[in-house]
Amino acid sequence: MDRFKPEAFLPLTPVAFEILLALADGERHGYSILQEVELRSAGTVSLHAGTLYRALARLLESELIEELNDAPDRKNDDERRRYYRLTTIGIAVAKAEATRLEGLLVAARSRRLLKGVRT
């Protein structure tokens, strides 16, 4: 079997990365991902249902995320809810993407495109 290379997935689409970020601190269902993304970005990123689920489908297909077989708390949820969480591949890819973005930021800073020079 081929050795797994998270770089093969890079760069991620912004929506895919947002989803991975939202799932980084635990499993969530679809609507909760939407809310989390909007909350984190203070409304600057607004995910549309169509975009979200298409991105979810791609992430599921490439096994960066997976669906939980049973929900963590079923108390006040109906049956429709499906929960998603990161797979180990997903975590590795999210890390790789964050590293890639950091590299870009360093480059941008060194060319004085951003404040707070670190080099």
Partner: protein, 905 residues
């Protein structure tokens, strides 16, 4: 409430996606607080995303089919649909490669049909359906005076009447006028004088049409200053598309006119149909527009005012175009105009008695004349397309019978009827698709040829382009053809009974008697159609050849011709003669010039003028005087044109004004007017005046075809220019080399002689000769194209039906062979059957061709309508074609292995 809309939007997604995420998505959607407009926008975005998902699923399926992602896993129907499609496509391609002749023939037949149909549709679209280049053109109408006494319903209007129509109407938003004639005007520049073609329009015309200038501006309402607007074509041709043109002055009518704007490229006004019946020039393309002045020197110059200074009511040379108010019909406008005309009749009985009004939609005014012809053409080509489709359907049917075993095997292995029908439909749609692509090429070529060969009098032909409507029509035609072609074989094959088909090769389930008769009728109809059309085409072709072989009476090659106007300061005859003497001497001195002459009416390239004539030997009352064509010959005219002198002499430099007046006549005039006498030395007098000198006939020249190659020569007489110099002659120049190459040398020399003499209509005689047959050539081209199509169709039709018959009769042939029939006998049997069908078709075709030939009698030249050679050769060729087309299937029948054919008995 929102729920159904949501699920409707969700339908845009692939089924698998919908099943997996639909409930979740609805849940999210439900939770969002959204207003009505936001909801609609969200749903629209949702649906668009769905289509994008569908598209990317197709793309991934096509490129990465082996690693189908698990959302669309093989068990899903989504996968099934495309998997089946792919299998069917592959199967079709394999089959196509295995049977190249069949595939090529089928695609070609359909491509010809689709291509020709869409090409004709493109012409119809460009000429009839596309809107005129004006805002909301459906509301534009042309208003004419109706001369009820002489039954001329579309007579131009007089300016004063126009102004009254403009003021008094209640049904139009605006009515604007223009001169219904194109005026050739002299433009004087530093480098010389040239001719521009201008149209006078009322100042608000452009605004009323709803068009503004591409550069600068159009006339302001009421503007009567000395300003002009240029057409795009003239601006590019004459000023090299100089963007700094606006604000420059042009010297017209001896004063400066300021250029204020350039119209957009697509703007045309007027269309030739909007012009009046008479004019100064055959040109209809406009170089510049100028506002009509109602007072001042320009008004006087364009004869707008009577001697007492009023606007003219008696002379009719205006056109008028108006915009109908919303909700008002053309009939109401006409009633309105008739009411005004009646009032004017009362108010001005002297000038307006018998003048009513006519209102015509502008689109009809522009292209109405050609509509019936185009519609017939479109119907004809659609008919041909249907024939082609039915032909191909027959071919496919023949093949599906040959493939019965294959299809039965599929059925036996569990394929449902719908599955088999779908496979066959996929095949025919793929064939149609390929044909559609090739058909686009066919359309392109056909269109290019049509536009290139179209005579100039077909309106808007240069506006014909391939736009979205044409492409839509092409796709629609392609798909319709695919379905039309595929339905019959698909249906008959879906009824295959696998048990019967596999157990023995029983026939009869498909080729029922009715269907067989239908097919025979089809072949007969195709052959008959081919005979009729080809006969017409051959008659036209032979006519065309005889017309082009007509001896026009002069040598058309190696001659350059142009028209020019003498400068206006040369007012007396001596000055003009001095000018001509110098002119001809300098033209003859140019290198490569053989001889130069001139005339007042150049053959094939101008109008004609006639005069009544008195003969000294045959005195007649004025009313009975014969009319003869009248021209002047200049310098070495007969020599330069290659017109032979049959008797007597041509003109000599000694035939001057002080010498006795002389004339040269043509052979027809000698024959008709001096049948029994020797024309040489006869005395004639031009016109009907009873006094004046007699002119002596000194020579007879060969007949020249003036009006057209098909026109019989008329009595014609020439006088010498030295005895009466013309002011705007046509010059002819015979050159040693290519006359077209002399044009620039001539222009340069003319500028040296006098830069203010404009040359126009500079053409070679060969061009004039070719233009003289352009309409004939166009009709021939179209009919010939139909003829070739119908011949091809007939051949394919016979081939297809005979293949079908051979397929159906395989077993019978096997039995015959087994019983000792010789293969050659079988060949004869099949061919005889085809020949019989062909013969019936030919007979019916001849019956159709006879009245058709009489119908096109007016287009024929040099042959009889019932030309025996044509009426024998065309049927013979058709018989030969139908026999040959049967040969291939017949040979197949010969090769049938009796053992194989009978094995399943």
């Amino acid at each position: 409430m929102k729920r159904p809309w949501f699920w409707l939007a969700l339908l845009a997604y692939p089924r698998a996606f919908r099943r997996r995420f639909g409930a979740e998505m609805y849940d999210d959607f439900r939770r969002r607080p959204l207003g009505a407009s936001e909801t609609m926008r969200t749903l629209a975005t949702l649906a668009l995303n769905g289509l994008a998902e569908r598209w990317s699923a197709v793309v991934r399926w096509s490129w990465f089919s082996t690693s189908t992602p698990h959302l669309y896993e093989p068990s899903g129907r989504h996968h099934m649909f495309f998997d089946t499609l792919r299998a069917d496509v592959r199967h079709t391609l394999r089959l196509a490669v295995k049977t190249p002749v069949f595939t090529t023939l089928t695609i070609l037949a359909l491509a010809l049909g689709i291509g020709a149909t869409t090409a004709i549709f493109a012409v119809t679209n460009g000429v009839l359906l596309r809107s005129l280049p004006y805002r909301d053109d459906a509301r534009l109408v042309n208003v004419w005076s109706n001369n009820t006494a002489e039954n001329r319903p579309r007579n131009p209007i007089s300016p004063a009447n126009f102004l009254d129509f403009q003021k008094m109407n209640t049904t139009l938003e605006g009515l604007e006028g223009y001169f219904s004639i194109v005026t050739p005007t002299q433009l004087t520049t530093d480098s010389g004088t040239e001719v521009v073609f201008e149209l006078f329009v009322t100042s608000n015309l452009f605004n009323m049409l709803g068009r503004s200038a591409a550069l600068g501006r159009t006339f302001a309402a009421g503007e009567q200053a000395q300003v002009v607007v240029l057409s795009d074509g003239y601006w590019r041709r004459r000023f090299g598309a100089d963007p700094g043109i606006v604000g420059r002055s042009l010297n017209l009518y001896g004063t400066a006119f300021q250029v204020i704007g350039v119209m957009p490229r697509d703007f045309v006004f007027p269309y030739p149909g909007m012009l009046g019946p008479s004019g100064f020039t055959r040109v209809t393309g406009i170089d510049i527009w100028m506002p009509i002045a109602f007072s001042g020197p320009m008004a006087a110059m364009s004869r707008m005012l009577t001697t007492s200074g009023e606007i003219v009511r008696t002379a009719h040379w205006w056109g008028a175009i108006g915009r109908v108010k919303p909700g008002v019909s053309v009939e109401q406008v006409e009633a309105d105009m008739k009411r005004i005309a009646a009032q004017l009749e009362q108010a001005y009985p002297d000038s307006n008695k018998g003048w009513s009004a006519t209102v015509v939609r502008s689109i009809d005014q522009s292209v109405g004349a050609i509509r019936p012809a185009l519609m017939i053409l479109l119907a004809g080509i659609a008919f041909v397309l249907i024939m082609a489709s039915v032909n191909v359907a027959n071919l496919l049917l023949a093949r599906s019978i040959a493939r019965e075993k294959e299809l039965a095997t599929r059925a036996a292995l569990g394929a449902r009827r719908s599955r088999i029908a779908r496979q066959l439909l996929t095949e025919s749609l793929l064939l149609a698709l390929a044909a559609g692509v090739v058909g686009l090429l066919v359309m392109w070529w056909t269109l290019t040829a049509l536009i290139a060969f179209a005579p100039a009098d077909i309106p808007r032909i240069n506006e014909v382009t391939i736009d979205w409507r044409v492409l839509l029509a092409a796709s629609f035609t392609t798909i319709l053809t695919g379905l039309l072609v595929g339905v019959l074989p698909a249906m008959s094959s879906a009824t295959v009974n696998p048990h019967a088909s596999l157990q023995d090769a029983s026939r009869g389930s498909i080729g029922s008697g009715l269907r067989r008769r239908t097919r025979a009728a089809l072949v007969i109809a195709e052959v008959a159609l081919a005979v009729a059309i080809t006969t017409g085409a051959v008659l036209l072709l032979r006519s065309f050849l005889s017309v082009t072989n007509v001896d026009p009476g002069f040598v058309t090659t190696g001659v350059l011709t142009w028209q020019m106007n003498l400068p206006q300061h040369l007012t007396n005859t001596d000055d003009r003669l001095a000018f001509y003497r110098d002119f001809f001497a300098r033209m003859e001195a140019l290198p490569g010039v053989v001889s130069v002459g001139g005339t007042t009416r150049v053959p094939l390239g101008s109008t004609s003028v006639s005069t009544s004539l008195q003969r000294e030997s045959v005195p007649l009352p004025t009313a009975e005087l014969p009319e003869v064509q009248f021209r002047r010959a200049m310098h070495n005219y007969f020599q330069a044109m290659g017109i032979p002198i049959r008797r007597g002499r041509g003109f000599e430099p000694t035939d001057v004004r002080t010498a006795p007046p002389v004339a040269v006549i043509n052979e027809t005039m000698a024959r008709k007017l001096f049948a029994t006498q020797d024309p040489i030395g006869q005395h004639i007098r031009i016109g009907s005046a009873l006094t004046g000198p007699w002119t002596t006939i000194v020579g007879v020249i060969g007949d020249v075809r003036h009006g057209g190659l098909e026109e019989e020569p008329q009595p014609e007489m020439y006088i010498n220019y030295l005895q009466g110099p013309p002011v705007s002659p046509f010059i002819v120049m015979r050159t040693a080399g290519d006359p077209a190459l002399m044009a620039e040398t001539v222009r340069a020399e003319m500028r040296r002689i006098d830069k203010n003499i404009p040359l126009f209509d500079v053409r070679t005689m060969s061009t004039l000769r070719s233009e003289a047959v352009s309409t004939r050539r166009f009709i021939l081209l179209i009919v010939a194209a139909f003829g070739v199509l119908s011949l091809g169709l007939a051949a394919i039709g016979v081939y297809g039906v005979m293949s079908l018959i051979v397929s159906e009769r395989t077993r019978e042939v096997g039995v015959r062979l087994a019983l000792g029939a010789k293969p050659s006998q079988l060949l004869a049997m099949i061919v005889r059957q085809a020949a019989t069908l062909g013969a019936i078709g030919v007979a019916i075709g001849l019956l159709v061709a006879l009245p058709l030939a009489l119908l096109i009698h007016g287009q024929l030249y040099g042959i009889e309508s019932l030309d025996p050679a044509t009426f024998v050769s065309v049927p013979a060729v058709l018989l030969l074609i139908s026999t040959l087309a049967a040969l291939m299937p017949a040979r197949k029948a010969m090769r049938i292995d009796p053992v194989e054919a009978l094995r399943l008995e």
